[in-house]
């Protein structure tokens, strides 16, 4: 099977999963308590106004009809309009997504640096201080709730030391020409150093929070896989040839340890999104995560559905990309 037909198969296989997810989220939203109309208008609105709004949103039709209407729209690529803002859901998501992407990329890079170097050195000096501290660190960070970690960092660097802002992406007084929506990139493109520093300062706390959380999983995987690889004969063979120890570690053991890590990271991506949601809410980061939380609060059904589908598509794309990269780096994998 060629890579192309493999990708097509993967996409086709993902479709029913997304459909099931859509059905589940659609009906769960309508079963759990909470009325979108009341959430928007408040409990004290006159009955006629409430009924009119209900009719306007199409919520007076039978649920099954509502569902097939929605499904028909989605099939045409139309995710409806937000009941809260009356803006198309898809364009709202598109506006919010770059913030999440920027946060996730920043955190991922930080987690990679921590995970790779600490993990590899811990594996190299197994059971020594550097290894034991790595194990304690990853258990501690993994066990601590994301928002608690975020709050602590906010308290220390934002409130007590006053070094960094505790929320948002950009100070109101700073102007920035937005092209990609990734503010760091945008400020670099326009050589706007003031904006760059401001964006970086805003990004630091949420980025470090999420980065530490991801790094705990990552560090443990790098460490364990590298320990395993270091025990393999081909690593002994490299040593027996007279290769320098650091090259044995980073060139042979770590590189081989990476393939399973990469795959597991793909599977954990959904989990990382959950971390992103919590981080975004803690730091009022205007991304998809805080968007979803806001929309849940107002029972904005189309927006919630759209966001969940968007997440699902995103996870599918990431896992396909990971498979492709795997196929490129691992000569044993062929589709």
């Amino acid at each position: 099977m060629s890579l192309k037909s493999y990708i097509i198969t993967r996409i086709i296989l993902a479709l029913p999963m997304i459909l099931i997810l859509l059905i589940m989220i659609f009906f769960i939203l309508r079963i759990i308590p909470g009325d979108p109309v009341l959430a928007i208008l408040g409990g004290k609105a006159p009955v006629e106004v409430i009924e009119a709004k209900r009719h306007e949103l199409g919520l007076d039709k039978p649920i099954i009809i509502q569902f097939f209407d929605y499904l028909g729209d989605v099939a045409k690529g139309d995710f409806g309009v937000s009941t809260l803002t009356s803006r198309p859901v898809w364009s709202e998501i598109k506006d919010r997504f770059p913030a999440t992407l920027e946060l996730t990329i920043f955190s991922f890079i930080l987690a990679l640096i921590i995970g790779i170097f600490w993990g590899a050195e811990a594996a190299w000096r197994k059971d020594k201080a550097i290894d034991i501290s790595a194990r304690v660190y990853s258990i501690f960070i993994y066990a601590v709730p994301v928002f608690w970690l975020g709050l602590m960092l906010q308290l220390l660097f934002g409130i007590y030391l006053r070094w960094l802002p505790v929320g948002g992406r950009l100070s109101p007084r700073v102007s920035l020409d937005i092209k990609t929506g990734l503010f760091l990139l945008d400020s670099l493109i326009s050589w706007n150093w003031e904006a760059f520093w401001d964006v970086l300062k805003h990004l630091l706390l949420p980025g470090v929070t999420l980065g530490l959380v991801i790094s705990s999983i990552f560090l443990r995987m790098v460490r364990n896989n590298t320990v395993l690889m270091l025990s393999k004969d081909f690593v002994k063979a490299a040593k027996a040839r007279g290769l320098k120890p650091k090259v044995v570690l980073y060139g042979h053991a770590l590189r081989n340890a990476f393939v399973p890590i990469f795959t597991i990271m793909g599977m954990q991506f959904a989990l990382l999104l959950a971390g992103a949601i919590l981080t975004e809410t803690t730091f009022s980061w205007p991304g998809i995560g805080s968007y979803l939380v806001l929309k849940i609060k107002y029972r904005d059904f189309p927006a919630i559905q759209g966001t969940i589908i968007f997440f699902a598509i995103f996870v599918v794309i990431i896992s396909i990309v990971i498979d492709i990269v795997n196929a490129l780096v691992d000569p044993r994998v062929r589709y």
Binding site: K232, D233, F234, K236, A237, A238, K239, A240, R241, G242, L243, K244, P245, H252, R255, N256, V329, D330, P331, R332
Partner: protein
């Protein structure tokens, strides 16, 4: 050429947190427990014994792939155990290893030609890449992988077990080592290719003027290649000497048992079979006295309390109270 003096390797047994807190004393697996032997230039020394007797550890200790607990190792007049890390790294081209499992011994992401060439690069042998590549091609041909261009660019998983082991051999010999440890080099291979590879090893040994440490649990293969053998049991050498003499007249009860287990090619010459009863004992808690006594058909009272030392007897050395 190789001299080993009172070599020991004790692996600490992992304790649980509870055991550490309860101050349970650290226990050790005495994988290699004070062995001595010499290998003369051009000789093939066979190290035999059941699985778990410490053969692999011995081979890796000599190459200092595992750091010894105590003891000395000499390579010609150089004390390997005293070399600094950097001296050792440079010295490694003189001594190489052929592993048991060729799949595990090859990096799955490295083209096999590159893997062989790698050693030349590490030790700056050959001037330019093209020259190194030529050397690799010649070596591939020498281990009967021809045409070499067909193999150079392949990945390990694309080769058969026998072909992979030829790559491992080529990778070891390209550095022109003087001493090679072959650790069960043919044990994992398909029966149909074993004899070819054994023959290849014998040819290469003569051609490259190698000194071999040939590790095997299967005494039958030593017949074709070894001049001298040492029989190991639970970290100790129990009988050591000239191969033919020991093979024709094994004296130590454990050696007798091993040799009786070798299938006789001539079915008319039925031998008395003395496969040792029972399992190899737990090496963390080896039996007292002679470690072989629970399985030995000749065991006497003294065997349970006193460990026999290695003594000269009939042109060889034996550790047994019978002699």
């Amino acid at each position: 050429m190789i001299r080993v003096n009172n070599l020991k390797k004790y692996f600490p047994v992992k304790r649980t947190v509870g055991e550490v807190l309860l101050r349970v004393p650290q226990r050790f697996v005495k994988a290699v427990d004070g062995i001595d032997f010499t290998i003369s230039k051009g000789e093939t020394f066979g190290l035999v014994g059941e699985s778990g007797s410490g053969k692999t550890t011995t081979g890796r200790l000599i190459l200092r792939l595992v750091e010894p607990t105590s003891g000395k190792i000499f390579f010609e007049d150089i004390e390997i155990t005293k070399l600094s890390k950097e001296e050792l790294r440079k010295f490694r081209k003189n001594m190489q290893i052929i592993f048991q499992d060729p799949m595990a011994a090859l990096n799955p992401y490295m083209k096999v030609g590159e893997a062989i060439k790698h050693g030349l690069e590490i030790h700056n042998i050959g001037d330019i890449n093209k020259e190194r590549k030529n050397m690799v091609m010649k070596m591939l041909e020498r281990v009967n992988l021809s045409p070499p261009e067909d193999f150079y660019y392949r990945y390990p998983h694309e080769l058969s077990g026998g072909q992979k082991q030829r790559i491992v051999i080529a990778r070891a010999l390209i550095l022109k080592p003087k001493f090679v440890v072959a650790d069960e080099a043919i044990a994992m291979l398909d029966v149909s290719v074993r004899s070819q590879l054994l023959k290849l090893l014998i040819d290469l040994k003569n051609e490259f003027d190698l000194t071999f440490l040939f590790i095997t649990h299967d005494l039958a293969t030593t017949k074709y290649i070894c001049n001298k053998i040492g029989v190991m049991y639970l970290g100790k050498i129990v009988e050591i000497g000239n191969f033919k003499e020991i093979y024709n007249e094994p004296l130590h009860p454990y050696t007798k048992a091993l040799i009786s287990a070798v299938p006789e090619p001539d079915p008319k010459k039925k031998k008395e079979k003395l496969i040792p009863e029972g399992e190899v004992p737990n090496p963390i808690n080896p039996p007292s006295g002679c470690k072989f006594h629970p399985r030995c058909p000749y065991a006497m009272d003294v065997c349970k309390v006193e460990e026999p030392s290695l003594k000269e007897f009939k042109n060889r050395k034996i550790a047994c109270h019978l002699y």
